[in-house]
C-alpha cells in the first residue's frame, strides 16, 4: 500500500471559515492509503512547504495530497516542494477545496462534507499515481511578436537585445501603432513621436529583428518552444525590395481618400505611406480604391516610379516561420462615436473622439497642431471634454473603466489651453482617477494654472444648434443642471480590444475575457503569461493601460521569453497517452481522434506507435480506445473510476 501524506491548508481563513478542518481530518485520517494527515494555516508559505518536505523524508511518503486552492495557482509550487524532498513531482496532487468549495458555499456542514468528498477522490487518484519524468524537447530560440505598437516594439527590442532573434508582425503598413498617432504624452508632455520614432528606427535597423509589416498571422500549430506560424504577407502592389520610399508616386496619384492615420481628418492617396515617419519607409496600394485596379485606367504611379517598383501584383504571399515563443501585443481601438446615438451618432462633425483630437493637437497632424474644428476650421473657444463615454456603463455599453481617459482628457484640456490662450476648456467627469507617478499633480495643475473647469457629472445629450454644440449636463456637486453652448466636443470613448482579436486568440489557443481582452494566467502572479505555455501578453490587448504600464509589461513579457530561451531543453508534460503493446491490436481508432498526428498505425507490427513529443495529453484517444491499451499517464481508467467511487461514497 502506498503511503500518502494529506496536507490541509486553512488559507488564512479562506478555507477554514467554511470547511471544518478538524472534522475533515477526523473523517480522512483512517482513509485507505493515508499515512499522515496534517493541517497548517498557509501551506504554500515557506514553513508550510518545509513541513511537507520534512514529512516526506521522515515518514517515507510516496504520495502527497495538498488540499488547498486551485491547481492552476499552486500545482507548480507544490510539485517543486515534493521534488526537493526527493519524491517524484507527479505523485503530488492538489484537492481544490477553495475555489470549488469553500468560496462557493456558505453552509459549513455542507461545505465540509463536499471538501471531504473532493479530498477522498484525489487521494484515490494519488494512490494510483506513478512516477513520471518530463519529456525533453528541443527549443527554437526565436520569438514572434504580433502587433508593433509601443508594446510590441519594446518587447521585440528587449528580446533582440538579449541576443535572440525576433520576428515582428504588424497588420498595418507601418509599425508604431496608436502611440504614433498621439500628440504629447502625460504627465511630462513630451512629444509622442519624439520618444517613439527613435525606437521604430532601432527596430528597423536591428540585425536580430525581422520586420513583417502589412502581414497577418493566419495559422499557428505546435507548442511551447516549437511553434509553426503561417504569416500572410499582404500584397502591396509593388516590390518592397526595389521601392526606396521616395514618395513620388504618392505625390502624383490623383485619387484622394481620408487618411486613417489622421482619423479621417486629413487625406491620403490610393498609393500611400500611412505617415511621413513610417517604418519601413515604404508605400502600399489600396487596391479597393486604386483607379487602375478598379478600371484599368490611370497607372500614373507606375509611370513616375524612378526605380520601377510598381507591379500591381495582387497576390498575397504566405510564409512559415518556426518560433519558440509568441507575444500577443495587438493593442486597442476606441469605441466608435458612430455607435453613440445620444451624442450625435457620428453625424455631428465637431463631436470627435479622443484619438481624433490627438491628431488635431499633433504637430504632424492635419492642422499642423493648431486646434481647429473639423466642420469649418474655426478655432473653438468653448470646448467640452466628456469622460467615461461608453465606459462604466454596464446598461448600454461597457462596464469597465478604460483607465487612461481621465489622464488624457486632462492633458487634452491642458494642451488646448496652451494652444488657445483665450479659450475655455470644460471637463465633465464622474470620478477623477489619477493614480500614477506625477498624475495627481498634473490634474491639479490643469485646474490651478490652466483654469480648466472640472464639472462633476455626466452629460445626457448633445445636439447641434446653429454652429454650436449644445451640451446638456449636470454638476452633481452644486446639484445644478449645466448647459454649455460649445464650439467643439471631445468624447473620451472607451478602450476596446482591436478587431480580429477573437480570431487570433483561437489560433493561439489563448483565452479572452467577456469583453475580448486577453486573459492572463493569473491576475497577480502571472500577469504577462497566457494559460498556454509559450504565449505571452503585452499592452492594451490585455486591458486598457497607459504608456508607462505598457512599456513595463512589454519588458516583463520579454524577460519571460528570455527566461524560457535560457533553458537547455524544454520539459514537456509527461501526462501523455502511451500504448500497451500487449493489448493493442492496431485498430487505429485512436489515430483518428488525435488532433496532433502523434499516433500512427504500424501495419506490419499491427500496433499503434506514439510520438511522445507531439502528444499534448488531451486523452481523447484513451477514451476512444476499445481495448484499454491506450491509457493516459496518471489519468488511467482505473484512477477515474476510483475517483467516481470515492465521490459517491463507495471508495476506500
Amino acid at each position: 500500500m502506498k503511503k500518502i501524506g494529506v496536507f490541509l491548508c486553512h488559507c488564512g481563513i479562506n478555507i477554514s471559515a467554511t470547511v471544518d478542518i478538524e472534522k475533515a481530518m477526523e473523517a480522512l485520517k483512517d482513509y485507505p492509503g493515508v499515512a499522515h494527515i496534517e493541517d497548517y494555516k498557509y501551506m504554500c508559505s515557506d514553513p508550510g512547504q518545509q513541513l511537507i518536505k520534512k514529512k516526506i523524508k521522515d515518514l517515507g511518503l510516496d504520495g502527497v495530497v495538498v488540499c488547498a486552492c486551485s491547481p492552476t495557482l499552486h500545482e507548480n509550487t507544490f510539485r517543486l516542494t515534493v521534488k526537493a524532498a526527493g519524491m517524484n513531482e507527479y505523485k503530488m496532487e492538489m484537492a481544490n477545496i477553495r475555489e470549488q468549495c469553500s468560496w462557493v458555499h456558505k453552509d459549513k456542514t455542507v461545505a465540509t462534507e463536499k471538501a471531504i468528498k473532493i479530498i477522498k477522490s484525489v487521494i484515490e487518484k494519488a494512490r494510483l499515481d506513478e512516477a513520471l519524468d518530463p519529456i525533453e524537447v528541443d527549443i527554437t530560440r526565436k520569438a514572434m511578436v504580433i502587433g508593433a505598437g509601443v508594446a510590441g516594439i519594446q518587447t521585440a527590442l528587449n528580446i533582440a537585445n538579449s541576443g535572440y532573434e525576433v520576428i515582428l508582425v504588424e497588420r498595418e503598413p507601418s509599425i508604431g501603432g496608436k502611440m504614433a498617432q498621439l500628440s504629447e504624452t502625460f504627465p511630462t508632455l513630451d512629444c509622442s513621436q519624439c520618444i517613439l520614432t527613435p525606437k521604430m528606427v532601432e527596430v528597423s535597423n536591428h540585425p536580430k529583428i525581422k520586420l513583417m509589416t502589412y502581414s497577418e498571422v493566419v495559422d499557428v500549430s505546435g507548442f511551447v518552444g516549437n511553434f509553426k506560424v503561417k504569416v500572410k504577407r499582404k500584397a502591396t502592389g509593388l516590390d518592397w525590395d526595389v521601392c526606396n520610399g521616395c514618395g513620388l508616386c504618392t505625390e502624383k496619384c490623383p485619387k484622394k481618400l481620408p487618411s486613417e492615420f489622421d482619423q479621417g481628418l486629413g487625406e491620403r492617396k490610393a498609393i500611400y505611406r500611412p505617415f511621413p515617419q513610417a517604418v519601413p519607409n515604404r508605400v502600399v496600394i489600396d487596391f479597393e480604391n486604386c483607379t487602375y485596379m478598379q478600371s484599368g485606367k490611370c497607372g500614373i504611379c507606375q509611370k513616375v516610379c524612378p526605380v520601377k517598383a510598381i507591379d500591381f501584383d495582387k497576390e498575397d504571399k504566405f510564409v512559415e516561420e518556426e518560433v519558440g515563443a509568441i507575444i500577443c501585443a495587438t493593442g486597442f481601438e476606441t469605441y466608435s462615436v458612430k455607435d453613440i446615438p445620444e451624442f450625435g451618432g457620428g453625424k455631428l462633425p465637431d463631436v470627435v473622439d479622443g484619438l481624433t483630437f490627438e491628431r488635431i493637437l499633433s504637430a504632424s497632424g492635419p492642422t499642423g497642431g493648431e486646434v481647429r474644428r473639423p466642420s469649418d476650421g474655426k478655432v473653438p473657444k468653448d470646448i467640452v471634454f466628456l469622460e467615461c463615454v461608453c465606459s462604466r456603463d454596464p446598461e448600454h455599453y461597457l462596464p469597465y473603466c478604460s483607465k487612461v481617459c481621465c489622464m488624457y482628457t486632462v492633458k487634452h484640456a491642458m494642451l488646448y489651453k496652451h494652444r488657445v490662450h483665450d479659450g475655455q476648456p470644460y471637463v465633465f467627469y464622474m470620478d477623477m482617477r489619477t493614480g500614477g507617478k506625477g498624475y495627481e499633480e498634473f490634474y491639479q495643475r490643469a485646474a490651478e494654472e490652466d483654469k480648466v473647469v472640472f464639472i462633476r457629472g455626466k452629460v445626457s445629450k448633445l445636439y447641434q444648434d446653429d454652429d454650436k454644440i449644445v451640451v446638456c449636463g449636470v454638476d452633481t456637486l452644486s446639484n445644478e443642471t449645466i448647459e454649455i453652448r460649445a464650439d467643439m466636443v471631445v468624447l473620451a470613448t472607451a478602450i476596446v480590444p482591436s478587431k480580429g482579436i477573437r480570431e487570433l486568440t483561437k489560433l493561439l489557443k489563448i483565452q479572452i475575457d467577456q469583453h475580448g481582452f486577453l486573459s492572463e494566467a493569473h491576475p497577480k502572479l502571472r500577469p504577462v503569461e497566457s494559460l498556454t505555455a509559450g504565449v505571452y501578453l503585452a499592452g492594451c490587448a490585455q486591458s486598457p493601460r497607459d504608456i508607462p504600464d505598457t512599456v513595463s509589461q512589454a519588458s516583463g513579457a520579454a524577460s519571460m521569453v528570455c527566461t524560457l530561451f535560457a533553458n537547455e531543453k524544454l520539459k514537456h508534460e509527461p501526462i501523455i497517452v502511451g500504448v500497451n503493446e500487449d493489448i493493442c491490436s492496431g485498430c487505429g481508432i485512436c489515430t483518428v481522434v488525435c488532433p496532433y498526428d502523434a499516433r500512427k498505425t504500424n501495419l506490419e507490427k499491427k500496433l499503434v506507435e506514439v510520438n511522445e513529443v507531439l502528444c499534448e495529453g488531451c486523452g481523447a484517444c484513451a477514451a476512444a480506445c476499445p481495448s484499454g491499451a491506450a491509457q493516459q499517464n496518471n489519468y488511467t481508467d482505473n484512477q477515474i473510476n476510483a475517483m467516481i467511487k470515492a465521490i459517491l461514497g463507495k471508495g476506500g
Partner: protein, 292 residues
C-alpha cells in the same frame, strides 16, 4: 391584411383626426383595421408600481378582448395606449405570480390572459412593415419641398423594452416620410418629453417644453411638426397658440398627426380632416405646398 384595432378614449373625440386619417390611409394600403367590440379604457399610463396590481386590470382586460377577437395582433394609434398595453403584457409575462393574481381579480372573464398571446402594434410599426415600394406607389401628391420635423415624444421609444425603434435616435417616421417624398429635418428634440399630463396641474412646465421643442424644429427649418400621440398633439398645438397670444413674436408651426399628412399625400380627400380641431390651422402651409 386584417388587424384588430383599439381606439382608446381620445381617438373618438379630440384626436378624431388621427383616427379618420389613419383608417383612411390604411384602407389605401389594403389593411383592414377592425375595431374591437366592447373595449374599455387602456388604463392610461402604465403603472410602474410592482404591488399595485389593480392598475393592470384595465389593460389586461383590453388584451382579453383582443384575444377573444381571434386575431393575434392589436393596432393602437395612441402612443399612450400602445405603451400601457405593451408594458402590461410584458409585466404579467415576466411575473407569473402577479399574472395569476391579476387573473384572479377577473374571475368573471371567460378568457384568461398570459402575456404573449397578443402582439400590440403601434401604427408607426404597422406602416413601417408595409413594403416601402407599395407606400411609394400609393403616393399621388408631390411634397418634395415640404420640410417636416418628426416628433416621437416619450412613450413610443421608452422604456427600451417596448421601444418601436432606437431609443435615442428613432428613424421610423423619417423613413416613412422619405418614402412618401417629404424631407425630415434634423430635429434633436424629437424624443424630448412635452411634459405630458403635467399640462393639467403644471401648465407652466408644459409651456416651456413646448417653446423649446418648437424653437428647435423651426430653427432647423421645419414647416410643420408631425407626431403620433394625442397628448403631445394637444400640448404642442394648444400651448403654441397660448405662447403666441402672449407674445406675438413667437412663431407657430402647425402640428399634424403623421397619418394626416400621409393620407393627404396618398390621395385621401383632405376635407375628411376636421380642421376645427386644430389650434394652429395647418391649411395655409398645406395650401402653399399645393397639398389641398
Amino acid at each position: 391584411m386584417e388587424i384588430s384595432y383599439y381606439p382608446g378614449c381620445t381617438l373618438k373625440t379630440k384626436a378624431i383626426n388621427f383616427e379618420t386619417s389613419a383608417l383612411a390611409l390604411l384602407e389605401k394600403l389594403d389593411v383592414k383595421a377592425i375595431e374591437l367590440k366592447d373595449w374599455n379604457c387602456c388604463g392610461v399610463m402604465f403603472s410602474q408600481s410592482q404591488d399595485n396590481l389593480m392598475k393592470q386590470l384595465a389593460p389586461i382586460r383590453t388584451l382579453i378582448r383582443a384575444k377573444e377577437s381571434g386575431r393575434d395582433r392589436l393596432l393602437t394609434l395612441c402612443s399612450m395606449c400602445y405603451n400601457t398595453l405593451k408594458r402590461s403584457a410584458l409585466f404579467i409575462q415576466e411575473n407569473e405570480d402577479k399574472r395569476d393574481k391579476i387573473n384572479d381579480f377577473m374571475d368573471l372573464e371567460e378568457t384568461e390572459y398570459f402575456g404573449n398571446e397578443i402582439e400590440v402594434v403601434n401604427i408607426l410599426t404597422l406602416l413601417d412593415e408595409i413594403d416601402k415600394d407599395k407606400l411609394k406607389a400609393s403616393i399621388v401628391k408631390d411634397a418634395k419641398d415640404l420640410k417636416v420635423a418628426t416628433y416621437y415624444g416619450c412613450l413610443l421609444t421608452r422604456p427600451k423594452e417596448v421601444a418601436i425603434d432606437n431609443v435615442e435616435d428613432p428613424q421610423i417616421m423619417e423613413n416613412l416620410l422619405e418614402a412618401a417624398g417629404c424631407k425630415p429635418v434634423y430635429f434633436p428634440f424629437k424624443t424630448e418629453c412635452c411634459a405630458s399630463f403635467q399640462v393639467v396641474s403644471r401648465k407652466d412646465i408644459a409651456r416651456e417644453r413646448t417653446r423649446k421643442i418648437v424653437d428647435s424644429a423651426r430653427k432647423n427649418g421645419a414647416e410643420m411638426i408631425l407626431l403620433a400621440c394625442p397628448l403631445c398633439e394637444y400640448n404642442l398645438d394648444k400651448l403654441q397658440k397660448e405662447l403666441h397670444e402672449e407674445d406675438s413674436t413667437f412663431e407657430t408651426l402647425p402640428v399634424l398627426y403623421v397619418t394626416q399628412l400621409l393620407a393627404i399625400l396618398a390621395g385621401v380627400d383632405p376635407e375628411i380632416n376636421d380642421y376645427s380641431k386644430h389650434y394652429i390651422d395647418p391649411r395655409p402651409v398645406l395650401e402653399r405646398k399645393g397639398l389641398l
